[in-house]
Each structure stands twice: as C-alpha cells, then as structure tokens.
C-alpha cells in the first residue's frame, strides 16, 4: 500500500464512484478574477453518504462547495473551469435555479428570514418561488422537514413565531429544514456549527448522521474531530488542492500524504 500514490487512490475512488456516483467532479478549478482558489479537483460522491471536506482556513473548501450549487459565480470575479456532474449531467448546462433546488445549502451563520414565521421559513423555497401548493401539502412539508431536522418537537407549538425568535442552534436546524423542504439530492453544509456552542454543535452532528438516509451531505469543516465523528468519506484540501480523499477511517488512521498526517497531528492548520 505504501507504494500507491495519491493519484492512484483518487482514480480508484473515482472509478468506483463512477458506477454509483451522484456527484462527479472532474479537473475542476475555481477563480476569483485571476487568482486560482481551487486547483484541479477530482472526486466523486456516492449517494447517501456524508463527505467531509476539511482543511485549514483559506484552503478553498468553502469556495469549492459554493461551486457545486453554482453560488460561486454570483460573487464578483467568480469563475470556474472543469466539470461537475450531477447524476451524469453537467451542472453548467442545467439552469442555475434547478441546480440550486437539487443541491441545497446551509451557511456558516444561521440565516432565517427575519420577516417570516418559523412555518414560512420552512416553506420559504415555495413561497419565494411563487410555487402554489395546497394548505394540506404545505403543512405536511413543514412537519416532515422540521421532523427530519429534529426541530419539530421544539417548535410545533410556536410555528407562528418569527424564525429569529429561536436560539442559534435551533435557527441553524430551521435553515436545514428550509433546505430539506425543497427535497434536494445533495445538501451542502458550509461550516454549519462554527457559530454554535458545543451543545448545539453536537445536535447538528447527530442530525447530519441521521439525515444521510434521505440526502447526500457534503460538510465543510475546519474541525478535524467533527469530520471524524460524522463522515463516511473525508477530503483534505490544502492551498486549493485536494491532497487526499478516501474513507474517513482510512484517512484518519493511515493517511497517505505527509501533509494530511501533519494536519491531523496538529502540526499546522
């Protein structure tokens, strides 16, 4: 195993993934103006898995997942090259609106809509898009999404209160419910616990593990322990490159790249 290079492993993983992969990233680069932020990434993600993307601050992990639902191109100077395939279809060929409905996102800081109630926040994807649904369906979606986000029992009596009335951890779960209401295939979590206390963090982590039954999760984190706790696969990014990608168990116990090992043992990052 010692002789295997990172390229071999990556190609093995992606060959295995191609057969059953939901998301396939090929030779992908992302830029801000002339500056390359994400450099030649290849990886594939299978369905119903939790994939952590970890790395030190500024390594491009957030930029990378913002490319997956095409949010990166909204930023000034944001461009990309290479391919990201969702179920074999190039996301650049799909309409951005469809891409974002299929690939939901939760951000670093909880961001419920302050002018909406908890109920309206969950159903916001429908309200804001002007999609008319029956009251019954809407109620069902709200209950289902909040239950999946492990928030239903806490808020079922106060659905008409404003979303901002909840605590930080509850707000973040509300944002997860809001994303789940759109029935996405992939959920992108961009350091979802970085603004939360340890207790709220633990709840979100539990939730991530439960959620993989319904949805595939890409979790960006700079917290090594979090990646180890919740994910099936882990990707380690450094200076815009994907240094190593493999099952979490393997990556944490027998890292193949020296930089991965140094990061895991706390030599930098």
């Amino acid at each position: 195993m010692g002789k295997e290079t990172i390229a071999d492993v990556n190609s093995k993983v992606s060959a295995a993934g191609r057969r059953n992969s939901l998301l396939q990233v090929e030779n992908f680069n992302a830029f801000f103006y002339d500056k390359k932020i994400v450099n030649d990434i290849n990886l594939s993600v299978e369905k119903n898995r939790v994939v952590s993307i970890m790395g030190p601050s500024g390594c491009g992990k957030t930029t990378f997942i913002r490319c997956i639902n095409r949010m990166h191109e909204m930023s000034p100077g944001g461009t990309t090259s290479g391919k990201i395939l969702l179920n074999g279809e190039d996301i650049n060929r799909l309409n951005t609106i469809m891409v974002r409905r299929k690939i939901g996102m939760v951000f670093q800081r909880p961001n419920p809509f302050p002018n909406m109630t908890i109920y309206e926040n969950v159903i916001a994807g429908y309200l804001l898009n002007g999609i008319r649904i029956s009251r019954k369906l809407s109620n069902d979606i709200v209950e289902d999404s909040l239950s999946k986000a492990a928030l239903w029992d806490e808020v079922k009596g106060s659905l008409n209160k404003r979303g901002t009335y909840l605590s930080g951890g509850q707000q973040q779960r509300l944002c997860i419910a809001r994303a789940l209401a759109m029935n996405p295939e992939i959920l992108l979590l961009d350091e979802p616990t970085s603004a939360l206390d340890p207790k709220a963090t633990a709840r979100i982590e539990e939730l991530v593990v439960q959620l993989k039954e319904n949805v595939t999760i890409l979790l960006v984190t700079h917290n090594i322990a979090q990646a180890a706790r919740v994910s099936d696969y882990t990707a380690f990014m450094f200076l815009g490159e994907l240094v190593e990608y493999g099952t979490t168990k393997e990556l944490f116990t027998v890292p193949k790249d020296k930089r991965t090992e140094e990061y895991l043992t706390g030599k930098f990052g």
Binding site: I97, F107, P112, F113, G125, N129, A179
Partner: protein, 299 residues
C-alpha cells in the same frame, strides 16, 4: 529584557505611573467636565426648536378650535372661519406627490443598492445629489413650466409634481441606506433555494427593509409638507373648498404665507394657528416614524 527591568515593570514603577485613588482625581474631574460640556452643547441644539414651539403655542393656540379645522375661511371683516380647505388641500397635494414619486424613488434606491458599480447608479447618485441641493423655488419654476404653462392655469397637480420631484432624492437615499444594511446572508439564503434574482429582491430584500423604506417616506413627507415656494406658482391657493386636482388648491404653507403677509389682524391670528397646526402634524408624523424604527430595533 533583563530580570531587573522586568521586576520594575511588574511592581511599584507601573503603579506609580498608573496612579492611585488620589492622583487620578484630576482625570475623574476631566471626565466629568467633558460630560458636562457635551451635554450643554447638545442642549443648545434643542433651544431654537424650543423657542419656535413656544412662540407658536403662545400665539397660535388661541386660534385653534374645532371651527378652525372644520370651517372654510370667511371674507375679510368677518370674524371666525377656519382653514379646512387648506388642510384638505395639503393632504391631497401631498398624497398625489407621494403617488407620483415614491415608486420611482424606491426602484431607484433598489437599483443603486443592488448595482452600486454600474454607470447608471453613478448617474442616479449624482443627479439625486444635485436635485437635493436644488432650491425649491427652482423646482417650482420647473413644475410651472411643464404643468402650469401648457394647460394655461394653476392646478393642485402641478404642485404635487413640484413636491414629488423634491421628495424623490429623500426617499431614494433612505431606501438605498436601508437596503444596504440588509445582511448579504439573507440574499444567499434565498438564492440557495433556487429563487430567481428578481424575486430575491422583491420577496426578501424589500420586505426585510420595508420599515426603513416606510420611515424614509414619512420623513420625506414631513420635509415637503412645509414647502411654500414651489406651491406659490403651481397650486397657487384658493379661498374655496376644492378637491379637483386640475384646479388651484389651497395648502397649509400657502395659507400661512397669504395670511401672514396680509394687513389684517384677524388673518395674522389664523396664520399663527395654521403654523402651529402644521408643526403639530410634522411632529406627529415624526413620532410615528420613530415608533417604526424603535419597533424594528426591539425585535
């Protein structure tokens, strides 16, 4: 750093520099003094307003009665009479001015807050700055040229056009400021749900900032409700009750102007009363606007 210096820094030496209970007395005094100076200078700001209110109350309160706000003016020589026509006229002219200008101003404000770097935003910003500095009488002349000269007579509508032009920069600026303060995360939240851009603006950004926008409209209204110069040769004024916007119409500032410059004591009293009424209306609208802001912060 030598051990000796280190020891010195840690103990008596620094204590001496930093001072004890007694030696900081001077600093406490300076602190109190600066507080007193700031308070008294701030208080001076309130004095002119206090004097104006005082004079208006002393001179105007005797003319304000139920008749004053429910009756029409009487001819010279007869006592009594009210300014109902001016009150109604001011309301109509103001509301039409807002109907004409507010949509423009809000969309302009949305545009420059959403696309701050485009050349059109540059033009809008420059022209609103200039418009804001334009003397109201010049705006009045402009309204006269475009809305009084062609039909050949004065009208309330032309007055509304003049006031509408004046209120555009105020509402536009406050809309821009409000929308700029709305966190970027909210837009991203909506975009990540697959919401198209125009819906993000109309359904998330504007509703979130609606209180600030409304506040700007209220404050803009108070600013223009006392404007006299642009109304002199547009709405012109009228001694009769008129609700048709194609005809000359009275307004509170016009009444004050006409009555105050007249030679009759009876009319002077009415002018004082109208002034007090105008400032009370401005006061009430301002209070409503305050209430909006404090509610927003309290949430």
């Amino acid at each position: 750093m030598s051990g000796e210096t280190q020891r010195k820094l840690n103990t008596a030496y620094l204590a001496e520099i930093l001072g004890d209970e007694k030696s900081i007395g001077k600093r406490i005094f300076k602190n109190k003094l600066s507080g007193i100076i700031i308070f008294s200078i701030s208080f001076m700001v309130v004095i002119p307003l206090g004097f104006i209110l005082f004079y208006l109350l002393v001179n105007g309160v005797s003319s304000i009665s139920l008749d004053f706000i429910t009756k029409l003016p009487k001819p010279v020589g007869e006592s009594g009479g009210g300014i109902l026509n001016a009150l109604v006229g001011s309301g109509i002219i103001l509301i039409i001015a807002l109907i004409l200008s507010v949509p423009l101003a809000i969309f302009g404000g949305i545009f420059i807050s959403e696309f701050p770097d485009s050349w059109l935003s540059y033009c809008i910003r420059l022209s609103t700055d200039i418009l804001q500095g334009t003397p109201s009488i010049v705006i009045g002349i402009f309204a006269w040229v475009i809305a009084v000269v062609p039909p050949g007579h004065f009208s309330a509508l032309s007055g509304s056009i003049a006031l509408g032009i004046m209120v555009v920069p105020l509402v536009l600026k406050s809309t821009e400021e409000t929308l700029k303060r709305i966190p970027h995360e909210l837009r991203e939240a909506a975009i990540s749900l697959g919401v198209p851009y125009h819906r993000v603006i109309l359904k998330v950004v504007v509703p979130t900032g609606i209180k600030g926008i409304f506040n700007g409209i209220l404050l803009g209204s108070t600013r223009i409700s006392g404007e006299t110069a642009p109304l002199l040769f547009t709405a012109f004024g009228s001694p009769f009750m008129n609700v048709r916007i194609g005809k000359p119409m009275s307004a509170l500032p016009l009444v004050i102007y006409t009555y105050a410059t007249s030679p009759y004591d009876e009319w002077h009293k009415l002018a004082w009363g109208a002034s007090l009424l105008l400032i009370l209306i401005v006061f009430v609208i301002n209070m409503i606007a305050r209430l909006f802001v404090s509610k927003k912060e309290g949430r």
